[in-house]
């Protein structure tokens, strides 16, 4: 299933300069694994040693934070948009 991953400016250098990538996967874990297969450098930037997301990385599926859903197991529909963004403080 094709999914669009939006890559934040801070990670584009590690992703061949692209702002988004088309990858496959039916949940967030698969989508990210598929992204890491194309851009191996991204793995250590986003994930910690245990395979979880680093604590200042936010991932959204169709605009919703995956922590409100099933985390890395959150289902991703065909054609959906997955957005990776840094956490930013300040109100």
């Amino acid at each position: 299933m094709a999914v669009t991953v939006k890559i934040p400016a801070q990670l584009r250098a590690a992703a061949g300069g692209v702002a988004e990538a088309e990858v496959d996967g039916s949940n967030v874990r698969e989508v990210l694994d598929s992204l890491f297969a194309s851009f191996s450098e991204l793995r250590e930037r986003i994930s910690d040693d245990g395979g979880s997301l680093r604590r200042f990385v936010n991932v959204y599926v169709a605009g919703e934070d995956i922590r409100f859903m099933d985390g890395l197991d959150t289902a991703v529909a065909d054609g959906a948009e997955v957005t990776i963004l840094p956490a930013v403080a300040g109100g």
């Binding site: 934040p8 200042f56 956490a87 109100g91």
Partner: protein, 424 residues
């Protein structure tokens, strides 16, 4: 300048003093690192501060501007832009007595140009944005920041874009739009607005004060700690109670005291730091109570909209500070918030917005629980003005309407006040 670069709080990677906010290696937040001139004596440092203007620029040695304080000259900085800070620290003996405490001080940051502490952070961020050559300032806001960015844009002649949740209090919307900003109400909560602005900041060459300028912006909050210490005669209070939304203000108050201890301006331990949240949005208090380091995001549902950040990026650092100093993070209900606003108003003459109600109610809770020692001095950080959230106090008191006659006054008001005092 004493600021020497940006440094990742997580992995320590260093970056130049530009519009950067995220570590490219680990995604951790970047923070300004300083190299202070070790040859200055404590007396000389104090003189440098005391000879400065009556605003935050008196602390320029500890703020990240390359060109020193903005304005035509050091003496005249209070005439440039919208000078923030040097707000009153008032002794609140009647509040203390009501809570059974000895010494309570209120840091009244409603006394800033746009009536909240946000003028401190926006002053620093916009000054740095100008140094970096930005023409447009912008922000994602829960309201107070919107007021401040719009006003600073007007004062400095910079174009501004302000993004707010569409359900914001009317007072905050009106007090933003009037400055001629481009006001954008986003259908969603603050966390949605924040996400949008994070995406936008990569696409536009704008200074989002709390996104790409965040490392500079956040430093402005240290000036609350500097002022408290200076106003208390260069001492550190025993305890500080301050609100937590993203956790940035709370964390930077700790950093302010810490930096001054490091250069010898202050001696002694950090204050015991207490954070205050609304129960309807308490991801930091919940994580603290559970012993976690990471906050699970929540969907906010509280009248304290200026604290309604469900995904607090500095939450882990706020928890660490509370733990490290032996303090805590508590939460209070909407009813307690309303009571807190009333309590502060009644006992100090200071009318605060809902965030101040959260802070005051948290102090009351700590006092009732016996968590604050009988001999301790406590500083309550009041971050915004009650006129910003008038709905919260509607119907919270009684008043009288009478005919313009002595007889009606005596019949209605005198009788009613007798009844009240009789009931006591």
């Amino acid at each position: 300048m004493t600021a020497e670069g940006l440094k990742c709080r997580e992995c320590g990677t260093e970056y130049p003093l530009e519009a950067l906010y995220v570590c490219e290696r680990c995604f951790g937040p970047l923070e300004v690192a300083y190299q202070h001139d070790r040859s200055l004596s404590v007396a000389e440092r104090r003189r440098r501060i005391q000879s400065g203007p009556q605003n935050i620029w008196r602390y320029s040695d500890f703020l990240p501007l390359a060109g020193g304080p903005p304005g035509p000259s050091g003496r005249r900085t209070s005439r440039a832009g919208l000078p923030a800070g040097c707000t009153p620290l008032v002794r609140a003996d009647r509040l203390a007595a009501e809570l059974g405490l000895r010494e309570v001080w209120v840091k009244n940051d409603a006394a800033n140009p746009t009536h909240s502490f946000k003028d401190r952070v926006v002053s620093v961020a916009t000054a740095r944005a100008r140094e970096l050559g930005f023409k447009v300032i912008a922000c994602a806001s829960t309201g107070n920041l919107a007021n401040s960015v719009a006003a600073h844009g007007a004062a400095l002649g910079m174009e501004s874009y302000v993004f707010i949740p569409s359900d914001l209090e009317e007072q905050k919307v009106l007090a933003t739009g009037i400055y001629g900003t481009k006001l954008v109400a986003v259908r969603g909560n603050y966390d949605d607005v924040n996400r949008l602005c994070t995406e936008l900041s990569a696409e536009r060459d704008w200074a989002f004060v709390n996104v790409n300028l965040r490392p500079y912006y956040a430093e402005g909050s240290k000036t609350i700690a500097f002022e408290i210490a200076e106003q208390l005669g260069w001492t550190i209070p025993d305890r500080v109670v301050a609100p937590i939304a993203s956790g940035s203000l709370f964390t930077k108050i700790g950093k302010g005291f810490d930096e001054w201890r490091e250069v010898g301006l202050l001696e002694g331990d950090l204050p015991i730091m207490y954070g205050a949240q609304a129960s309807g949005c308490s991801p930091v208090a919940t994580a603290f109570a559970a012993g976690h380091n990471v906050c699970r995001p929540v969907k906010p549902d509280t009248i304290a909209k200026s604290l309604a950040i469900g995904n607090p990026a500095d939450g882990p650092y706020a928890i660490d500070l509370a733990r490290r100093t032996g303090g805590g993070v508590d939460s209070v209900t909407d009813d307690e918030i309303r009571e807190g606003i009333g309590l502060l108003a009644r006992t100090t003459g200071i009318f605060t917005e809902t965030a101040g109600g959260v802070t005051t109610a948290t102090l009351a809770k700590l006092a009732a629980r016996g968590d604050i020692g009988a001999r301790d001095s406590v500083v309550l950080v009041i971050t915004g003005d009650g006129l910003k959230t008038l709905d919260a106090v509607r119907g919270s008191f009684e008043s009288y309407e009478i005919d313009p006659s002595l007889a009606d006054f005596e019949a209605t008001v005198d009788e009613a006040s007798l009844a009240v005092s009789g009931a006591r």
